[in-house]
């Protein structure tokens, strides 16, 4: 009797969860569907669920409008900023995890606090500085900015992962006469590889989707996909099917990366406070 109720409950919960999940996903689904419609079908009334599938939007977006340039800007800026940040963050996290001083905790907290600063608080000087240095609307300028924005999160995540590695192993390698760079590259990094991988993944996702600085510091040259999609907001840009095709291609890589990293995401986004 009790068992029967449990099965009914399970069925009820399953149906409810699937219904709500599909509802949450619907806007994305609808966008993907629209990307395969003609522009006329896209605004048909009532909305079409059955329609003749076309790839013309993808072909047109790819052949026109410098789409590939914006795409490669996104890849270079997200990837480049992540790698640069790792180069700075790995030594820093190593130092704080394996030879902490009495200031380490305060330093970590201070790093975290820089992340709390609202970007508008430094918008003016950053904009003017980049302008005077000729770095406004350049990929290099934006890569550096993006690296600095996410550096605190990267150091925190790496620190959390490094803390779980027993320091005896590092000491043993030191006893065996390993130099510091050998200790880091051959002993620490292989052990911390899963942690480093998920740190990279989270940072790529954050950098790819970043909108405040990319919208304010780029124009035609270094614009990423975030900024490119924003240009569709103008009234004359009412090409829904093409917008959908461009958007689908812009979100697809990150959506897939995100699905794989959802577990590590929790630790990363809460600075290790929720595990």
């Amino acid at each position: 009797m009790a068992r029967k109720i449990t099965i009914q409950h399970q069925l009820g919960f399953t149906l409810l969860a699937w219904f709500l999940g599909l509802l949450m996903f619907f806007p994305i689904f609808w966008m993907i569907l629209t990307s395969f419609k003609t522009e006329i079908d896209a605004i048909a009334s009532p909305p079409l669920v059955v329609f003749s599938v076309t790839l013309e939007n993808y072909i047109e977006v790819l052949s026109r409008s410098n789409y590939l340039k914006f795409f490669s800007n996104s890849v270079i800026i997200a990837g480049g900023s992540t790698l640069l940040a790792l180069v700075v963050a790995i030594p820093s996290a190593w130092a704080m995890a394996f030879s902490p001083t009495r200031h380490t905790k305060n330093v970590l907290m201070w790093m975290l606090s820089t992340k709390m600063m609202p970007p508008v608080g430094v918008l003016v000087p950053i904009y003017l500085s980049l302008k005077y240095m000729g770095l406004l609307d350049t990929r290099f300028g934006l890569t550096i900015i993006m690296m600095l924005i996410n550096l605190p999160i990267i150091i925190w995540m790496l620190y959390t992962y490094f803390k779980e590695i027993p320091s005896e192993i590092l000491e043993a390698s030191r006893m065996d006469g390993a130099k510091l760079w050998q200790e880091i590259i051959f002993v620490l990094l292989p052990m911390a590889l899963p942690g480093i991988a998920s740190t990279m993944l989270l940072n790529i996702i954050l950098a790819w989707n970043e909108a405040f600085w990319t919208l304010n510091l780029t124009a035609a040259n270094a614009a990423t996909l975030t900024a490119f999609i924003a240009s569709y907001s103008s009234p004359e840009g009412l090409f829904w099917a093409k917008l959908s095709a461009a958007s689908t291609m812009a979100i697809a890589p990150i959506l897939i990366l995100g699905w794989f990293s959802q577990k590590q995401l929790v630790t990363g986004l809460t600075f290790g406070a929720v595990k």
């Binding site: 030594p91 905790k105 609202p118 608080g121 150091i155 909108a211």
Partner: protein
């Protein structure tokens, strides 16, 4: 001796990160404070000089300022209310034995990975458009005249879009917290004859309180700086109906070229965010000791 050497070495290893973050935050912030006391407009750059508190006075007495503060608070609290309540309920639901839970999780988490400009445009064009949008078709089906969302309820529309983006985050964090709930404690409560609601109130909710605090604080930090969603949907309008503090400063700086005024707004935004940050640092700091 080896330890002294390691200590020195570790300081050196930590230096690049500290120097970079110092340059990134302290230097620009000092510049913002300096500019906020200057008369400085890029359209008339020769007319510069110390301006006293004028920029602050001008920024604060602007009618848009109180609208912006109000909108910022409404945006933050509205999204927080939806995502926390929704996140707790969805977390409880997803913690049940559900068939195909992995896929359902993916469906729920997906909106979080969509770039802000894309999600704002999906909602603006395909869902909320008063002629072609899905919502317009649904209301027509029920014989209700369609709503022009961004003209009639601009701020609420933005709250809905942003809540859609952040509900997955809250759900994921709260679900993770729920999964570490002690089963034996639950069973003991069952034995003592506790009902579903008293179990939720006395066991589950206290267990989640820490995660809820973390979600509130992290979301607040991000929500104070909402920008792209406003830029591509309403441009802060109609009037100032959906202008938040971030958008107002952007408007001053990059559309009106008023460097002094924008800097004063930036300083005010920093002060607001710091009030929140103090609480966040405290609650994360506790975890560091544990």
């Amino acid at each position: 001796m080896a330890t002294t050497q390691t200590k020195t070495l570790s300081r050196i290893m930590n230096l690049p990160a500290i120097v970079l973050l110092f340059i990134w935050m302290i230097v620009p912030l000092t510049m913002t404070i300096y500019y906020s006391f200057q008369r400085y407009n890029l359209l008339n750059p020769s007319r510069r000089g110390f301006n006293g508190w004028f920029n602050y006075e001008f920024f604060i007495t602007d009618p848009a300022f109180f609208a912006a503060i109000g909108n910022t608070l409404l945006l933050v609290t509205g999204v927080l209310a939806i995502t926390i309540i929704g996140g707790v309920l969805l977390g409880l639901l997803l913690n049940q034995a559900i068939l195909g839970r992995g896929i359902v999780r993916i469906l729920f988490i997906s909106p979080f990975f969509i770039m802000p400009t894309v999600s704002a445009l999906i909602w603006k064009n395909m869902l909320m458009n008063p002629i072609y949008g899905i919502f317009a078709h649904i209301s027509e089906f029920f014989g209700v005249p369609p709503t022009d969302f961004f003209a009639v309820i601009p701020l609420l529309s933005i709250v809905i879009i942003v809540a859609w983006q952040w509900l997955p985050f809250a759900t994921l964090i709260l679900l993770t917290a729920l999964q570490s709930l002690d089963q034996e404690q639950q069973e003991a409560a069952d034995m003592d004859g506790a009902g579903i609601f008293s179990k939720f109130y006395y066991i589950t909710l206290p267990h989640m309180s820490r995660a809820i605090t973390v979600v509130i604080l992290i979301e607040t930090i991000f929500l104070l700086s909402i920008f792209a969603e406003i830029l591509v949907t309403t441009n802060g309008g109609p009037g100032t109906a959906s202008t938040n503090l971030t958008y107002m400063v952007y408007n001053r700086a990059l559309l009106q070229y008023d460097i002094g005024g924008a800097s004063a707004g930036g300083v005010i935004a920093v002060i607001l965010a710091n009030i929140v940050a103090i609480f966040l640092i405290r609650s994360v700091g506790k975890n560091l000791e544990a």
